[in-house]
């Protein structure tokens, strides 16, 4: 009897091993790709960050020179400051707009499906195309947005310069990016809202809760896992912003929209300082890692599982 049980267990174990092997074989191509195109470059970049590699020839070890140079580089400091500002504005705005849209479109009404599609459309469009169009829309003199503001009675001298003033350039970038990505997070929030048990709303209604109280005591806590995920994704994405900057302002006017990834690109491909660019990239990685860890630790306090 014991032998039979052992044989059965072995058979099951063999069968489980076969299943596992099948699974690994299916994962193997993707894993090889991950290894070649992501993992190896990441590790190589780490070592390059300690060298003076220019992309050509051999790399000479320079220890922590690149990291030390970073903190004396005013271009880097400006990029870091701008990126923090961008994160602190674009993330809350994106989450707010997308949550509002999700709440509005969560109710079934005629055309809600159409509007969900319309708000998601910008997410499907290339940021390069959006950037080119944004440059035309936000033209200070002849752009349609300022023309509209003029027609609404805003004095010409008070019209914003949008991309062409250090005071408004980054905000303009934030507006464009929020418009593009709000649809994506709206879909995520919609999924989160659909997963909230309706009995909770019924119970709240029976208890006499109004709209705000229902939102604050039922919707918001139950949505916290989705909010947590969206916040992490949004923050990580905000530190990786590049394409909209490259197409519209190229870091200007002055250095007002210079961000970290754009700085990395300039140092690596325009100035030929691969080692220094790698150091900045790893610094960015550390920032994102720290922020993500803080969020993961913080989730225990405010995320309902």
């Amino acid at each position: 009897m014991a032998d039979l049980a052992a044989k059965t267990k072995n058979k099951m174990s063999k069968s489980a091993k076969k299943e596992a092997l099948t699974g690994y074989l299916f994962l193997l191509p993707n894993f090889i790709g991950f290894l070649i195109f992501i993992a190896i470059p990441i590790f190589t970049g780490f070592f390059i960050s300690f060298t003076d590699y220019t992309g050509f020839g051999t790399a000479n070890f320079v220890a922590f020179d690149n990291y030390a140079k970073m903190f004396g580089d005013s271009q880097f400091k400006a990029a870091l400051q701008n990126n923090l500002f961008y994160t602190l504005t674009s993330v809350p705005l994106t989450l707010l707009v997308s949550l509002l849209l999700a709440l509005l479109l969560n109710k079934s009404f005629f055309g809600s499906g159409f509007f969900k599609t319309v708000y998601f459309f910008p997410n499907l469009t290339s940021m390069v195309a959006i950037g080119c169009v944004a440059m035309l829309l936000f033209q200070p003199q002849s752009g349609p947005i300022n023309q509209l503001l003029l027609s609404l009675g805003v004095p010409a001298e008070s019209l914003p310069e949008w991309f062409f003033s250090t005071k408004t350039a980054m905000i303009t970038v934030v507006i464009v990016v929020v418009w593009k990505q709000a649809g994506y997070y709206m879909i995520l929030f919609t999924g989160g809202l659909k997963s909230i048990p309706p009995q909770l709303y019924e119970a709240a209604k029976m208890d006499g809760a109004n709209g705000w109280k229902t939102f604050w005591n039922v919707t918001w806590p139950m949505l916290s896992p989705t909010t947590f995920m969206c916040t992490i994704l949004c923050i990580i994405g905000s530190f990786q912003v590049f394409d909209i900057i490259n197409v519209t302002t190229e870091g200007g006017p002055g250095r007002s929209t210079m961000v970290l990834v754009f700085r990395i690109y300039r140092e690596a491909f325009r100035s030929g300082k691969m080692g220094y660019a790698s150091a900045i990239a790893y610094f960015l990685f550390v920032i994102i890692l720290i922020v993500t860890i803080i969020q993961w630790q913080g989730q225990k306090k405010w995320v309902n599982e």
């Binding site: 992309g55 033209q139 062409f164 870091g251 002055g254 030929g272």
Partner: protein, 437 residues
């Protein structure tokens, strides 16, 4: 059975990934996607059917030079001398970055490639990417006298040079003859920048619902006037010429508004040729590539670029472009033979003019005859009497200086800081940049 199928599927995936990787390296990393060519790059073989014994020379050029590069390759391939040139065209906007990746790849697939400026050739030289061409030139007995100047920019201390100059550029002033004739004004020849600004202001007005602009000076070379006066971004403080030129830009862009503003010129869709070609702009400062690119319904003329006070008339800026050979090329001698054909022979230089209307650095009578036949613009002779200064410095950090200079002057032209502040900031950042380089 299931396991066999699984193994087969996994093997197919793995081998297809491996095949794509080797295919990418075989084309020198020319595409980030699997396969030999991307949408940004096209490859064409020569017109003659390549003999399998032929030596293959890979030629890389950018999209603006596509017709010239392909025509020269076709002409060379027609000689059927055992060498077949295969052209690879990369989109102009991506060319400089992709070329660096290709050159760093050291795969041996990169033979001959176009380089935009002497400073870029210097960068490649300093990184040991380029083959020394002086020995090859010595073997063929080529007379280098006509190109001594451009060769100096790409030579090292031992006298070895690393690029063959292909075309040279020259900034000029273009004007709408019909508008000037309608106003009964003399054509704007040999102006100073002061005179240019005065004239542009006078010629900016609105009439019959159409806005007429006095001139257009593009905002991507904010040190143009000072460079033509031999003051580069590395000049000692105070950079008086640069400050003087900046005040003229401020006058045009901000005070007189006789030029399109920075906002309009920075729009992604801004195309200076289309703006000037619309016929409501009196003058345009741009390079002699406009002889090829400008398509207008009106007759236009060319004149020397305006100069700062005290600077010799006809002074302007320009630069040579080069064809270089990778030091990892498997056939450098054959690659050089092709380059020499492209850049110095009557046939090669004539093709340059036919396809680009640019002036070859190695001037041949045949090429000049073609140029005279094709470019019948009043004032074109100023192109050949121009005193051309190099457009950029050749220091390795010059590109960084360009960037910080642009940042500060843009703020001045957007009225966010004064001229003095702009230059004080520039000096401080320059010191930091040079110290960090």
């Amino acid at each position: 059975m299931k396991r066999i199928v699984t193994f087969l599927l996994a093997a197919v995936f793995v081998f297809s990934v491996a095949a794509c990787s080797s295919n990418d390296s075989g084309t020198s990393g020319s595409s980030s996607s699997a396969g030999g060519s991307s949408a940004d790059e096209t490859s064409t073989a020569g017109q003659s059917t390549a003999n399998t014994d032929d030596i293959i020379i890979n030629l890389y050029a950018h999209s603006d030079n596509q017709s010239a590069a392909e025509a020269q390759a076709a002409a060379y391939n027609a000689k059927d001398n055992g060498i077949t040139v295969v052209t690879h065209i990369i989109a102009n906007d991506d060319y400089d970055d992709k070329l660096k990746v290709l050159a760093a790849g050291s795969s041996g697939e990169l033979d001959v490639f176009w380089v935009r400026s002497p400073s870029q050739v210097k960068t490649f030289m300093n990184n040991g990417v380029l083959a020394d061409l002086s020995a090859f030139a010595s073997d063929t007995g080529l007379d280098l006298t006509p190109i001594e100047g451009p060769l100096t920019n790409v030579s090292d201390d031992s006298g070895a040079f690393y690029g063959m100059p292909w075309t040279s550029s020259c900034w000029m002033l273009f004007y709408n003859k019909e508008l000037f004739d309608a106003k009964g004004l003399d054509y704007p020849v040999n102006l100073t920048w002061e005179e240019y600004c005065d004239l542009a202001q006078e010629l900016t007005y609105e009439e019959g619902g159409t806005k007429y602009w006095g001139g257009i000076v593009p905002n991507w070379t904010l040190n143009l006037g000072a460079t033509s006066a031999d003051e580069y971004l590395t000049a000692d403080e105070p950079m008086e010429r640069a400050m003087e030129y900046s005040t003229y830009l401020h006058r045009m862009y901000v005070e007189d508004k006789s030029n399109l503003g920075i906002a309009e010129m920075s729009a992604g869709t801004f195309d200076i040729h289309s703006y000037f070609g619309a016929g409501n702009i009196y003058m345009m400062v741009n390079g002699d590539w406009e002889f090829n690119l400008l398509e207008t319904d009106f007759e236009y003329g060319a004149a020397p670029m305006p100069v700062l006070d005290g600077v010799e008339e006809g002074s302007t800026v320009g630069q040579a472009s080069y064809f270089c050979i990778s030091k990892d090329s498997k056939h450098p001698k054959e690659a050089y033979e092709f380059i020499e054909f492209m850049t110095t022979t009557a046939e090669g230089t004539s093709i340059i003019v036919e396809q680009t209307k640019n002036v070859p650095c190695y001037s041949t009578d045949e090429a000049m005859a073609v140029f005279e036949e094709l470019v019948k613009v009043e004032g074109v002779e100023y192109r050949f009497s121009a005193k051309i200064k190099d457009e950029q410095g050749t220091e390795p950090y010059y590109e960084s200086l360009n960037e910080i200079y642009r940042q500060e002057i843009e703020l001045y032209l957007l009225e966010e800081q004064s001229l003095e502040e702009a230059f004080e900031n520039y000096y401080a950042l320059r010191e930091e940049t040079i110290g960090n380089s």
